[in-house]
Each structure stands twice: as structure tokens, then as C-alpha cells.
Amino acid sequence: MSDAESPSDDFEPIEVFPDEETPDLRPGADDCYKCSTCDTNCPVAEVDDDFPGPKFQGPEQWRLKRKEDASVDDSISKCSNCMRCDSACPSDVGLSQMHNTARAEYVEEELSKTSLTYWRNRILANYRTSAFLASKVPRIANFAMNFGPARWAMEKTLGVTSEREFPEFATETFREWWERQGGADGSRERAREARERRGEDVDADKRVAYFHGCYANYNTPEVAKSLVRVFEHFGYELVVPEQRCSGTPMFANGMLDDAERHAEVNVSSMGDLIEQGYDAIASCTSCSMALRQEYPELFDIDGIEDVAENTWEALEYLRVQEDLSGELAGAEVEDEHLASLAYHAPCHARNQGLDGQALELFDDLAGVDAEDVGDSCSGISGTYGWKEEKYETSMKIGEEMFDHMEDAEGEVGMTECPTCAMQMEHGTGYEIRHPLEVVAAALT
């Protein structure tokens, strides 16, 4: 109602930064009516008394900076970029956009480029590069990364916590497997067979481009393989385009330049395919979040809006385009392992309105009993929980989820997010599966 009270006050956007490429945050800051709903949703503020919370990080700090030439408060690096504040604000304030921008400014202006913290963050954020190298020698990497003295040294020199085990690298990446399956040509053939079997038009235009992200490629190819099987089952032919990191870990570390370089590659290769009539799908909810929301909020790249508008979370796509619920209701899973699943909805899935999806889909699936472990944050938030100084906060946030997992039937967990999965496993020792693996077990 603020504009209703002063009918003559014409809105004048003010640039936050002198150049015109950074987004204008003024309307967001003006929309904040200080209700503090965001603060009551912030998992970091809940466990860390020194963290001033999203309202401060967003609209308040922004106003402060307008008034005097204050620099960004270093508490911004405590924000884990879970984006829960963003999805809570009743007034549509773009909190995560403000945080991402402030964090980038902080890293740019306050953090020394020769400091260990900067390089530690940069290495963590550029997980894809390390994973790429490690995947060349997966067995050695698996050994070396978790080798005690090496981990001790990493904590002491780099500040990477030695409490966690590094994720294992697969001996065959998803992309290597995909090539062995005949790549796009093999997929086209299998999709045609499936359409014929399903009594659909064999030449139907069912084509999707898969953004697998780093983790499903290097660490959990079984998730990506499940996706391929499920989509081909429904008669879709897949392509697996050239891609870089989605940028999620880079946003969270204030490395917007790194993120933009990767985004340019992704937007260009996904954009070309979308132009040809493909839809884009992702299995990792942080990747789909980045492509759908963060890219257009943060970058100005040609074709970015098209990519954002045509990217889907994989199961959501099938749910809307196919009778996924119906097929699951008629199916059964015989794998004892999947009989009881403790499900955690990742924050980034929540932000896309997907938090109820997996449970709803498995409601009528025989042989699977999935139970929600509550709406708390897992606490790891990508690279956040890997930092030595954040480890404790991360585990404190996760406590509620661990407790609920222990209370749930069964000792297998389920989630869409690879780093939440890491945290779930770390806190409970459970094996963690992806909903796509369950769908694959039911239908293929």
C-alpha cells in the first residue's frame, strides 16, 4: 500500500552499482515491510546467535549502504544460500538475489585474493574441476582424498573440515556410460521402440536435453542412468549436451564471475537445443534452481530467459507431460531396500514448489513407503558444511533432520539433492537414494 499513500511519488529506480549490468534491487528493498517472516525461516539464524539474519542481509544492509558508504558486513559469508528466506517472504522481496549480489561484492572488495579462505572457497566452488581431474584416476583419488594425513593437512592449511568423508568417484562417469550406450543415436532407437510398445506415434516429437550436473556425472551415475531409463521408458529420446557447473556452489561463495563463465557455456548449449524444440530437464534440484531462477536474476546472457522458461525438474516434467502418477499407481517395487524411505525435501526443491512431489507420487506405489522427515534444512548447503569453521553450524542445523530420520521406519534415505544426501549419510550412516532411482525400479 506504500504507493497508495503517496499517489504523486513517482518511482525512480536507483542503480545499486555504477555499472548497468548488475541488477537493480531497489523495488525489492522497498517492498520489505519488516514483518521478519524471513528471519523466522532462516536455519542459520536459528542456531547461530551472531548471524543477523536475512532481513539484515537483504533490505536493511541495502538501505544502509545507500545512506553511507558502508562496506558489506562479513556476516554475509555465513549465509548458506539455502534460499528459504526467499520462498518465505510474503512480500516478494528478492532476498536471495540481494544476498548473492552482496556476497559477490564482499568477495570482490573485502576478501584478499591471496588469502587461504579465498582459495579454499574457490577450490570448493569449482568442484567440477577437481572432480574432472579425480575422475581420470578415480581409485587413486578416492584413496588420496580420504587419506588421513592428507585430510589433516587440508583442514590445517585450507580449512576444509576433516570430519567429512569425500564422496567417492565412480569408476565410470555417467558420460562414459552414455557413450557406451550409443549416445543420442542409441537413445533415439530405444525411444522409438518404447513408443511403439506404448502404442504411441513412433515419430512423436519427444526430445529432452539432460542437464546432469557434476555430481550425477562423477559421483552418482546411477541417478543419471535411472533418469535415462525412465525417460526412454516413456518414449523420450535424450541428448546429453556439453555442460559446465550449474554455478550453485559459486553463487554461494560469491564467485559470480566464475559462475557466469560456466553459465555462458550452459546457456549456449542448452539454448541451441531448446531452439530446436527440446525441453531441458535436470535431476539435481539445485541445478534446476540455478537454470530457472538464479541465471535470469543474476546474469544478462543472450537466450537466458528461454533456457529458464524451458527447464524442468525431471519428475515434474513427466508428471505434467505423462501419466506418471497413474503408471506408478499400477506398478510395484520389489527391491526390499526401497521398502521404507526417509524423505528429506531439499531447500532448493522447496523453492521450486517441489517439496511434496516425491511423497505424493509414491503414495500409491506398491512396495514403497516413503515418510517425510520434516521441513528443516539439512544444514550442508553445498560447500557450506565443508568449511572447517562452518562444520559445527552445519551439523547443528542438521540435527532435527537426523533425529527425524532415526525415528522413521527403515534405514534408507531419499532426497533429490546430492549434497543433502551427503549430509544425510554423514549424520545417520544411512544409504541415500534419489526418487528417480525409485521410479526406475518401479517402471523399468
Binding site: P7, D50, G356
Partner: protein, 417 residues
């Protein structure tokens, strides 16, 4: 193919959640689509039905004044029985968390500013604080929680003529939280009691406690275990303990939201947290789908019957710009004076016409267009998106949402069976 239910409710505040529960009770499959969080988190947690009559008189019994309401007031449209049905549904949801269901009369509760507010249901945690109770009260504030100035609130209460002596004192909260600590921090510290916060707080209060039979605190006494926190303080202080409802963000509101969510889960209602941005019709005056936006995608959610419960100007169910006030989801007609300057009156206090803005409904709660024709056969409205009442002035916010939510949801559910 596609996402399809019997009833689709748009908006997840009190009105929408009540409508979803009522529809599910009729046997309908129900989906609730809601953007962001509802205003419950910043409302006081008090459930008002009608605190003041149209002439501004404080009401002892809301039901006495129903016949005095204008004909287009939502209560006049749905009638006393619908209000009772809404309250009954509320009592089932809130259970032990709330009091006041034993009578239709208003209770008088002290607020954090030291005023007295008429309300129909109040948190069990506030029960010992009733202003009609003549036992003396000590109000305790925390140094770091500046929203509640206990000595000032006590002074105001006495000035308001309460039938007891009120005294205020300020103590420091154990662990000395920072000055801008979130209210949830206090609540969690007391919930967890990790460093004996409950006992340490009681000990600090004991030093200023002068035998008053009841002691009031700001409403931050636990989020998950409020009853345990109160019991511990009561045992140590040998006095009844109560919470004083606070401004936003509100723990009683958060607790109530969780109670509603649990009820929705039990009723099998699926919730989607994204905005509805558009709709589809069958071309013959009926809605066929509400289009949900998901970070770029526009996904139709099909249903046989729809409830619009998107809230008023605060919940963004109504949208205002320089030209007009609109209902942005289904584009329902919102009556309003032509001239924008007629939206406001000059007196700062007193009723503001814009507070009554909202969609125009008949006694079946179906929104109507400018000419009084039904907008869509299968659309009903509930809660503060409806016009014709000013909840802040008359103290009727949650009550109208319960009554219209229950009626709209039940009718929508029944239609599909």
C-alpha cells in the same frame, strides 16, 4: 496425464487451510496451492470473531451484534451457523493449543502494548493472563527484547482500568542474547534448555517477583514445547505463567500454522508452494484449471471446483496500483470508488474505505462481476480477499476467514461429490 483434483484451493492462510479441510471432509480430493507464507506468522495468534460493533462499541458477545452488520458484511452473508461451524473446525484443529471454546462470549486479553483486546479464542499459553481475572500480575520483559516494555505495558493496563494491580520489571535473558536476536532464538533456548535456561530465567525473575499470583512474559516461551516451558517456570516461581501476544513475527501464530499443517496432512490435502498466475476456462463459464507458475513453467492444475483465498492487500490477494485495486488471480471484479482520493479519509484513525476493498460475493460466496452476475459457476471466495468488512477496526480477521473458509470449502467439496 496432468495434475487433477476435485477441489483446488488458492491461498494458504487461515481461510484457505480451513476451506481445504472442509472440502476434504466432504470426501473430495483437495490440493492447496499457496505462494509464500501466510499472514499467520505475523498476526498475534489471537482468533477474533467480532470485537467491536459497527458503532464502535466493545462487544461482550459477538453473536449479539450480527443483526447490526451491513447486509454485505461476510457474516451477514453466511450467517451465525457458519460462524459456529468455522469455530468448531478451528477447535478441532487447534485442540489443546487454544482456549475459549467454552463460551460464545469474548475474552479480554492484554497485548504487548498494554491495551486490552476482545477475542474469541486465545492460545492456552495466554490463558492465565485474562484481563477479566482480578489477580495481580507481574509482567516481565527482557533487556534485549525491546518490542515488549513491561513496565510501560503494566502502566497502560492499569490506565485501561483492569481490575487488578499490574507491575512491570525487566530482566536479562540467560545467555545474554544479542540486542537484535530473533524471537525464535529465545523460544529455542527455552525449548532445548541446554544450559538450564528455564531455571536460570526463573531465578532472575524470582528476584523481582513480589508474590504476584501470575507472571506474564512476551510470547517467546518455546516453539515446540511451550507447555513444558511454562510448567517449569510455574513450578519455580510458584505462580501461574502466561504469554502476552506480540507483534510480528509471532510464535503463537507459528505454532498455530503447524497445527493447521498437521491437520492438512492428516486430511490428505496436498500442498504446493508456488503462485497461481492465470486460469483456464471450459468456455462455458466454468473454470477448468488454475495455472501455477514454477520458476518459469506455467503448469495447469485441473479441478472441478475452486476456492479463492489469497488474502487482502497484505497477503497480496489484492493488488493495487495508481489506477485501481485488482484481484490478480481470476480477475474478479473489485468494487471501488472511481476517484482514487475517495479511497482514504483524512482522519488518521477511523475507518478507511480501502480497508473494505475486496471481491463482491453473494451469500453462496461466489464472486460477482460489475453487473452482479456470477464470475465463474465453480469458484467461491473466502477470507480477506472478500470485501465489505474492515477486520482491523472491528477485530474480526480470523473469524471471517474461518466462517467463509468453512462455508466455501464445504460447498466446493459437496459440488464434486
Amino acid at each position: 496425464m496432468a495434475i487433477e483434483d476435485d477441489v483446488l484451493v488458492v491461498g494458504g492462510g487461515v481461510a484457505g487451510m480451513t476451506a481445504a479441510l472442509a472440502a476434504a471432509d466432504e470426501g473430495a480430493s483437495v490440493r492447496l496451492v499457496t505462494k509464500k507464507q501466510s499472514t499467520l506468522r505475523h498476526a498475534s495468534g489471537l482468533v477474533d470473531v467480532l470485537g467491536y460493533a459497527p458503532d464502535g462499541k466493545l462487544l461482550a458477545d459477538p453473536f449479539d451484534a450480527l443483526t447490526d452488520l451491513p447486509a454485505d458484511h461476510p457474516y451477514a452473508l453466511v450467517g451465525a451457523e457458519a460462524i459456529r461451524a468455522g469455530l468448531e473446525r478451528f477447535d478441532a484443529v487447534a485442540g489443546e493449543l487454544y482456549r475459549g471454546g467454552h463460551t460464545e462470549k469474548n475474552a479480554l486479553l492484554p497485548t504487548h502494548g498494554g491495551t486490552v483486546k476482545p477475542t474469541a479464542r486465545y492460545p492456552a499459553s495466554a490463558a492465565a493472563g485474562l484481563a477479566s481475572d482480578d489477580r495481580d500480575a507481574l509482567l516481565v520483559g527482557f533487556e534485549t527484547l525491546t518490542d515488549f516494555d513491561a513496565p510501560l505495558a503494566a502502566e497502560h493496563l492499569e490506565a485501561a482500568g483492569v481490575p487488578f494491580d499490574a507491575r512491570g520489571a525487566t530482566v536479562s535473558f540467560p545467555g545474554e542474547p544479542r540486542a537484535d536476536a530473533k524471537v525464535t532464538r529465545y523460544a529455542h533456548a527455552l525449548d532445548e534448555d541446554a544450559d538450564g535456561e528455564r531455571g536460570r530465567l526463573a531465578a532472575r525473575v524470582a528476584r523481582v517477583h513480589d508474590g504476584e499470583p501470575r507472571v506474564g512474559f512476551p510470547a517467546v516461551l518455546g516453539q515446540e514445547h511451550p507447555a513444558d516451558v511454562r510448567a517449569a517456570l510455574e513450578a519455580d516461581l510458584d505462580a501461574d505463567v502466561f504469554e502476552v501476544p506480540m507483534g510480528p513475527p509471532s510464535l503463537p501464530g507459528i505454532r498455530l500454522e503447524y497445527a493447521f499443517r498437521a491437520a492438512l496432512d492428516d486430511a490428505g490435502v496436498h500442498t504446493v508452494r508456488r503462485p497461481v498466475v492465470d486460469y483456464e476456462t471450459d468456455g462455458e463459464g466454468r473454470l477448468s484449471a488454475a495455472v501455477v507458475e514454477r520458476n518459469g513453467q506455467h503448469i495447469p492444475h485441473y479441478a472441478d471446483s475452486f476456492v479463492l483465498a489469497t488474502g487482502g492487500l497484505v497477503g497480496k490477494g489484492l493488488d493495487s496500483d495508481r489506477e485501481a485495486v485488482r484481484e490478480p488471480v481470476f480477475d474478479c471484479h473489485v468494487p471501488q470508488p472511481e476517484d482514487r482520493y475517495d479511497w482514504f479519509r483524512d482522519e488518521a484513525f477511523g475507518e478507511q474505505p480501502y480497508a473494505r476493498f475486496g471481491v463482491d460475493v453473494g451469500d453462496d460466496l461466489r464472486p460477482r462481476d460489475e453487473d452482479g452476475r456470477i464470475e465463474f459457476e465453480n469458484l467461491r471466495a473466502a477470507g480477506s480477499v472478500i470485501g465489505g468488512y474492515d477486520f482491523a477496526t472491528e477485530c474480526s480477521g480470523t473469524g471471517v476467514s474461518l466462517a467463509t473458509g468453512d462455508a466455501a470449502g464445504a460447498a466446493a467439496g459437496a459440488d464434486t461429490q
